[in-house]
């Protein structure tokens, strides 16, 4: 199918870091089944570094590929860097997504933030709320609504 780029299809067909971390230091789940995509991110943290990242996704090709790409982009990186991850960066790394699929990639950015936030909370680490805009407001995603 040519709806998606080769990169997207590669990550969709061979998702990196899929699975669960049983003793995760932080877990974040975003999205809801009503809108059609749910992403769950598990992180392992050592000295402020994301030593391991895994994900589970219920969703479309775009959602699965975005989660996979996001885990690759943050794995081994310091938390501070992971928090800078934007859906724009994920989308670009995937060589773009169809316009009506962009919202699925927002979930990847939110899932990373949600997992880090969970880690901070569990360990009583003080954090700047401004950094977790997305994860805290748990906003509903815009839907295109109408058919083509």
């Amino acid at each position: 199918m040519s709806l998606y780029s080769e990169k997207v299809m590669d990550h969709f067909r061979h998702p990196r870091n899929v699975g669960v971390i049983e003793d995760a230091d932080g877990v974040g789940e975003v999205g809801n089944a009503k809108c059609g995509d749910i992403m769950k991110m598990y992180i392992k943290v050592e000295n402020g570094i994301l030593t391991d990242v895994k994900f589970e996704t219920f969703g479309c090709g775009s959602a699965i590929a975005s989660s996979s790409m996001a885990t690759e982009m943050i794995k081994g990186k310091p938390i501070s860097e992971a928090l800078q991850l934007t859906n724009k960066a994920v989308t670009e790394a995937l060589d773009g997504l169809p316009a009506h699929k962009l919202h699925c990639s927002v979930l990847a950015e939110e899932a990373v933030q949600a997992a880090v936030l969970d880690y901070y909370k569990k360990n009583n680490i003080p954090y700047d709320e401004a950094q977790f805009k997305c994860a805290l407001c748990a906003h509903e995603h815009d839907h295109d609504g109408e058919n083509v």
Binding site: M1, V20, A33, I38, E56, F58, G61, I64
Partner: protein, 395 residues
């Protein structure tokens, strides 16, 4: 292995129809509206096609109007009946929640223009109740529009009963028969409809051509103004090769219907039995009152698009809800109408088989679909929550 299992979206052009298309394009290049011999020869061919299509539907040739397909036919029928009703002060339009968008969006437009639109619910079996139609009709009702067979879940509606009610109550009745014509017997007199829409590409004909049956005496106004083609009701030089190919496709489909039906029912039984073995899955639509080629399922814990992409990788072309719905993020209105909640409706799969499919195709489908469903469930946080009891199974 390659299995085309999306015949409800469109069908491959039949070989005999392709041949007729080429022959007609070469031999009948004249404009049917031209007075000269070449034009008149085309006119004769057009008349012959109209007569044959009429015959195949139990209609009169004067009741057949050629159009660009199902969407145009639906639009023209509904808009004609609505404007006729409005002139008599009747502004209520009755339809169902499971119609194709060609019907629903036309009704939406009319609603914005001041019509009252009532969309009747369907049961969990995906079938509308004739009693609900009867109860909804009042003295302001201009039109009842109920599809013959649903494009997503294949359910066959009680159109003969509804036709009888409409005749008795003096209300115009339109049926979108796009998914039914060429697949199950369709006789306009038996149905007792005033309008019936059909589309060639659903039964082995070309894309972009269809017809509208309009009972003699039923109101009809043109959507396209211009020349006097189609007795002044549809301007534009006729696509004669397409019309001739559609005629051949319909003839052949009806001639083969008995054998095709027997094959497809057998494949459908096997497919439904096999897919039902996937835990936490459910067939959409009535088990018996459905098109022979249509098998629609929901699988809990997964999402339909990823399912389609992985099946495509395995050579299986299927769909999730209507092909026309693919740009929308909301799950199919038909699945919601039969009571599938959002979570479940997202995990839908529509397999629609045609006469070229074989038992080996079904064996293959029954091998790859459970595999792909299991794989996607394995990476689904929803499935994990269902397994661990954090979330309750719906199916």
């Amino acid at each position: 292995m390659f299995v085309y299992a999306d015949h409800a979206a469109t069908t491959k052009l039949r070989e005999s129809a392709a041949r007729v298309y080429a022959e007609t394009a070469a031999a009948y290049y004249g404009n049917p509206s031209s007075l000269h011999t070449v034009g008149q020869k085309a006119q004769e061919k057009l008349t012959e096609c109209r007569e044959r299509i009429a015959d195949l539907l139990g209609a009169d040739a004067r009741e057949i109007y050629f159009t660009s397909g199902g969407s145009e036919s639906d639009n023209q029928a509904i808009l004609s009946a609505a404007s006729f009703g409005a002139r008599k002060g009747k502004k209520k339009l009755i339809s169902t929640a499971i119609e194709h968008h060609a019907v629903l969006h036309t009704l939406n437009k009319l609603q914005k223009e001041g019509f009252e639109v009532v969309l009747l619910p369907v049961g969990e079996n995906g079938i509308v109740s004739p009693a609900d139609v009867e109860n909804a009709i009042d003295e302001n009702t201009a039109l009842v529009s109920v599809m013959l067979a649903n494009n997503e879940i294949g359910t066959i509606q009680p159109v003969e009963e509804i036709g009888e009610i409409c005749r008795r109550r003096g209300v115009l009745f339109h049926t979108d028969a796009v998914q039914a014509v060429g697949h199950i017997p369709v006789d306009v007199k038996k149905i007792g409809c005033d309008y019936l829409a059909l589309s060639a590409h659903k039964f082995g004909g070309p894309k972009g051509v269809g017809a509208l049956y309009v009972r003699r005496g039923a109101p009809l106004s043109p959507l396209i103004e211009g020349g006097a083609q189609e007795r002044g009701k549809r301007a534009g030089t006729e696509d004669l090769p397409a019309i001739a190919a559609m005629t051949e496709a319909l003839r052949a489909s009806i001639a083969d219907m008995g054998a095709t039906d027997a094959l497809l029912r057998k494949l459908q039984d096997k497919l439904i039995d096999g897919l039902s073995k996937i835990p936490h899955s459910i067939l959409n639509g009535d088990r018996v009152r459905r098109l022979p080629g249509n098998t629609s399922f929901c699988f809990e814990g997964i999402e339909g698009e990823s399912l389609l992409l992985l099946l495509d990788d395995k050579g299986v072309c299927a769909s999730s809800g209507s092909a026309c719905t693919s740009g929308s993020l909301d799950p199919s209105h038909v699945l919601l109408a039969i009571g599938r909640v959002h979570d479940v409706a997202h995990g839908s799969l529509r397999i629609t088989l045609g006469e070229e499919n074989t038992e080996a195709d079904v064996d293959y489908l029954l091998q790859v679909i459970p595999e792909v469903v299991a794989y996607l469930r394995g990476m689904s946080p929803v499935w994990r929550d269902l397994q661990t009891g954090k979330r309750q199974f719906i199916l």
